[in-house]
Structure formats: C-alpha cells, structure tokens
C-alpha cells in the first residue's frame, strides 16, 4: 500500500466501524424530513408540471444528506485526531500534503455517496424517481461532496474545539444547505430572496442534481456545473495552500 491508499483505507474504516451513526442515522433523518414534508405539502404544492411534491423533494434531500455527511466526515475526523493527538502519526509519515488532501477528501466523498445511495434506496418505496441524466448526477455528486469535504478539512484544521466546529456547521453549512431550494423551487420566492439564492453555491448543486433526475431545473444545468466546478477548484486550491503551510497542524 502506498501512503495515500493507507490513509484512505484508514479514513474509510473509521466511519465504516461506526456505520450506525455515520450512515444509518443520516438516512433515518432524511426519511423523517420526507415523511413530514411530503405529508404536509403533497396536496398543496406542485413545483414542476407532472412532478409530485414528494418526487420533487427527494433529490434535494439526497443532495443535502450527501453534503452534510461529506462535511461531517472530514471535519470530525480531523478534529478528533487533533484533540486526541493521534494526528501526529500521519504528520510524522512521509506523506505529501497532496496525498493527505486526496485521502481525506475522497473518504468524505465516499461517505457522502454511501449516505446518498442509502437515502435514494429507501425513497424508492415512496416515489418513482426518473433518472434522466445519470452522468450529470455523478458529476454533480462528486463535485458537490468534494466541495463540502474540502470545507470540512478547512474547518477541521481551523477548529481547536468541538464547539468551534459546531459553530462552523450551524452558522455556515446548515443555512447554506437549507436556504438553497431543497424544499422548494426558488421561483416561488420573493425577488430579493431569489436573487440572494443565486449567490449560494449549494443552490446550483441541488438545482443541477435535480436536473439530472427530471430534466427540469431553475437555471441551465451547464451553468450549475460551471459554478460548482469553479467552486470545487477554488476551495481545493485554498485547502491545499493551507495544508502546504501546515496551518494549525505543524506549529
């Protein structure tokens, strides 16, 4: 095994060993959202013609779960290692910062995808989801979870305590994911909030992802892919820069 594959393997094993918390729990949470919102809104809201509200909701929920879990994986793994001190085992090894980045990123992306597949499989019982553009779905999945995984690395490096990480999660990640059109189409919003939503990268992740299923979207999918791709490159570059400097990892 090379350093990279070992670190990836260790990161995968880490969440796999506690799959109850890291995979099953988020799937159940997504289920609860689906049950409640679809029960309340099914009869009242129709976002796209011919698409029931429940069906509309599912892709957003899948994407939201994937994003939150990708972020949770890299950030909590890093902060745990920092607080318990066992991060030194990785830091004394001859791993490059690129290997470090790729391993943490990929493990988080995989965790996000496993949760996403879990949510997807369970929702099959509730609704019939078309699958119009699978390759676009894959592209949006990889890039979007990649962005949150990288953000998780940054947050994990930056935070010194668990409550700092929780603040990052509650004041940045949660609002961005909730205010991105998971539960509604932004066309139903007042103009001001519609305009604001266009500044939220998560909006493009969810809109593009939804397009992959229905072939319907609020903005052109190519634009969404471009925005998400640019964000991924930018946050990755930023994360790599911090890692190269050893920001808060090497004194």
């Amino acid at each position: 095994m090379t350093g990279f594959t070992t670190l990836l393997y260790k990161e995968l094993l880490r969440f796999w060993k506690v799959a109850f918390q890291t995979i099953l729990a988020p799937v159940v949470t997504a289920m609860l959202y689906l049950l409640i919102f679809s029960h309340v809104l099914e009869e009242r809201v129709q976002v796209y013609p011919g698409v029931s509200y429940t069906t509309f909701l599912v892709p957003g929920l899948i994407m939201m779960s994937m994003l939150q879990n990708a972020f949770a994986n890299s950030s909590s793994s890093l902060i745990q290692s920092k607080i318990t001190g066992n991060i030194v085992f990785v830091l004394v090894a001859p791993l490059s910062y690129l290997e470090f980045f790729s391993a943490y990123l990929l493990a988080a992306v995989i965790r996000g995808m496993v949760v996403g597949i879990g949510v997807g499989l369970v929702t099959v019982w509730f609704t019939d989801l078309p699958l119009m553009h699978p390759f676009w779905l894959l592209a949006f999945t990889m890039l979007s979870t990649g962005i949150l995984a990288a953000l998780g690395i940054v947050a994990g490096m930056w935070a010194e305590k668990f409550d700092q990480l929780a603040a990052f999660q509650n004041f940045l990640i949660m609002p961005l994911t909730f205010l991105s059109g998971v539960f509604y189409s932004i066309h139903s919003l007042p103009p001001f909030w519609q305009a604001t939503s266009h500044w939220n990268p998560v909006f493009y992740m969810i809109d593009g992802f939804r397009w992959g299923f229905f072939g319907h979207a609020d903005v052109a999918p190519a634009l969404s892919l471009l925005v998400v791709g640019v964000c991924f490159v930018a946050i990755s570059g930023f994360t790599l820069l911090l890692l190269k400097r050893g920001y808060k990892l090497r004194h």
Binding site: M1, T2, G3, T5, T6, L7, Y9, K10, L13, R14, K17, S81, T84, G85, N86, V88, F89, V90, L91, V92, A93, P94, L95, S96, G246, R250, H251
Partner: protein, 296 residues
C-alpha cells in the same frame, strides 16, 4: 560519515516562549545519546522540529543528511519518534495500528517485522485488543512499536519511561539496546538520570532553549572530581577539621584525594572523637546535572 542528526543555529519562537534559542548539535550514527534538561527546556520542541511537527523560526535541521523541510520524505523515513504524550487511535487494535502505520511509510507486507516488534515489547498477547482497552503501559509500548515499523536508522524517544512500570522499562531498554547494537542511532530524553547514566554514551543538556553542556557521560561524571564522605560521630568536631553539618546528625566532608581522609581521621582521634558510622558517596549524574543547570 553523515551525522545521524545535525541541527545548526536552531531557533524556535512561540508567541510567548522562546523554546529554542540557537542550538547547534551533531549526533553521530550509532550513538546512544541523551538529551537532558528541566521541564520547558525545549527538548520536545527540538524533537518536533526533527519530526516535522514544528517548523523552526531560524536555523536548519537534518536527519541522516536530509533536510527536514526540503527532503521531508527521506528525513521522515530515517526517523522514528516516540512522542511524549500518550496518544492513540481509539478506532483500532494494536496490530491494525501498526499495519496502518507501515502503510503510511509505503511498506506492504510488514507482518514479519510487526510480529518481531510486538514480541520484543511483550505486546503479542494484546495485539488484537482495541487500543482503548489497553493499560497506559501497554499503550506506551504500542507507541514505541509504531515508531519502529519502518525500521528507522534514527530512533528518538521522548521521555518513554515517564510514569511507566519497572517491567516496561526493562523490556524497553533491552530491546532499544539491541537495536542500538545493530547500528540504530538512539536519542533519549528522560527524567530518570540513572537511566541516562547507564544507557547513554554522550549527553547534551538543555536549559531555556540553550545547550549548556555536551560531553561524553564519562567526562561529565568526571567533572565532579570531589568525593564526599558522611560521618556519624559521638561528639562535636572542632571547625578546624573542615567537617560540615549534614542532614540530621550527620557530618559531611568533601575531599579530592583519599590522603585527606587519613588526615581527618588522625585529627578526630586526637580530639578523642569516635567514628560511629561512615559512608562514601560517589558523584552521580544527578549532582552533575544539578550543578550544570544551576550554574548555567
């Protein structure tokens, strides 16, 4: 031959503390080297810089000729560090931890060496227990094993026996000594000076980030050429004899040549004072250490 460790002009400034204040040090290959100093002297900081865990403010550090910043991959392959803190990964068993650590160094199929290390550290019966379930002493052994997975030519142990049972100390030193005999360079920091005295060929002493002594253990011990004798007497000797009051009812006498002791005895006999008990005290590293640190 390339030095196992070479640091030059090493300075490390933390926000408040100057942990290292211009250290120059060369440790030869194959040496068993002691790095001593009171708490906060900068020992751990020096080790962290060698391992790439901290970056120097000024100066350079090389391990087996490899710059710790520029040639970090080679310098880290050459170095095995047992950290001072008792850190572990609670998700894994001891054996898993060692396999993973081998992988970080790009080593596949390391099981034979892993078994060898586990065996020599008395860890075999605990190898498949989760790290959380191991006692402090056992966790410390795993830390040592982890530092050795890649057979590093230079091994650094940062207070490996602090708060550890006698059993581990013996097992550990036996194994580390055998590695040293096979040619591995060993650097040790410890609070137990008798450990340094018996194990280390050469010793450096740090105080407030500066090197205050660097010499062979034998030369350091020879610095205290004074001998000391402690007496219990049945009367009070006159001051002229040069005896000083020691602890309790004891009297102490410092001398350089044993002839002086004869003169003292003659003086005591002339005064009619009997010697009830007598004890000779040889200087040890503790004395030398205290003296050097106090005078530095």
């Amino acid at each position: 031959m390339t030095a196992a460790i070479k640091v030059a002009g090493l300075v490390k400034q933390y926000r408040q503390a100057r942990a290292l204040d211009g250290v120059d040090l060369e440790i030869r290959q194959g040496e068993f080297f002691g790095l001593l100093g009171p708490n906060g002297a900068g020992k751990t900081t020096l080790i962290n810089i060698l391992a790439g865990l901290a970056r120097p403010t000024q100066g350079s550090a090389h391990v087996m000729g490899f710059d710790v910043a520029r040639d970090y991959a080679q310098s880290r392959r050459a170095l095995g560090v047992v950290p001072q803190e008792l850190v572990y990964d609670p998700f894994f068993t001891a054996r898993e931890v060692l396999r993973v650590q081998s992988g970080y160094f790009g080593i596949r199929d390391n099981d034979d060496w892993i078994e060898h290390v586990l065996h020599n550290l008395g860890l075999t019966p605990h190898a498949d227990k989760n790290m959380r379930a191991l006692s402090g002493g056992m966790k410390r052994r795993v830390l040592v094993a982890q530092a050795l997975v890649h057979k590093p030519p230079v091994i650094v142990l940062d207070e490996p026996t602090a708060g550890v049972d006698v059993d581990l100390r013996q097992t550990l030193w036996q194994f580390i000594r055998s590695l040293n005999e096979e040619g591995h360079t060993v650097v040790l920091t410890t609070h137990y000076l008798e450990e340094a005295e018996t194990l280390c060929e050469r010793i450096a002493m740090l105080k407030q980030g500066r090197l205050v002594a660097l010499d062979s253990t034998r030369n350091l011990l020879a610095r205290r050429h004074d001998h000391q004798a402690r007496f219990r007497l049945d009367g009070e000797p006159p001051a002229a004899l040069g005896l000083k009051r020691g602890q309790g009812i004891c009297w102490q006498y410092g001398f350089k040549e044993y002839v002086e002791l004869e003169n003292l005895m003659a003086g005591l006999r002339a005064e009619g004072i009997k010697v009830l008990e007598m004890q000779l005290i040889e200087p040890d590293l503790e004395d030398v250490f205290t003296e050097i640190i106090q005078n530095a």
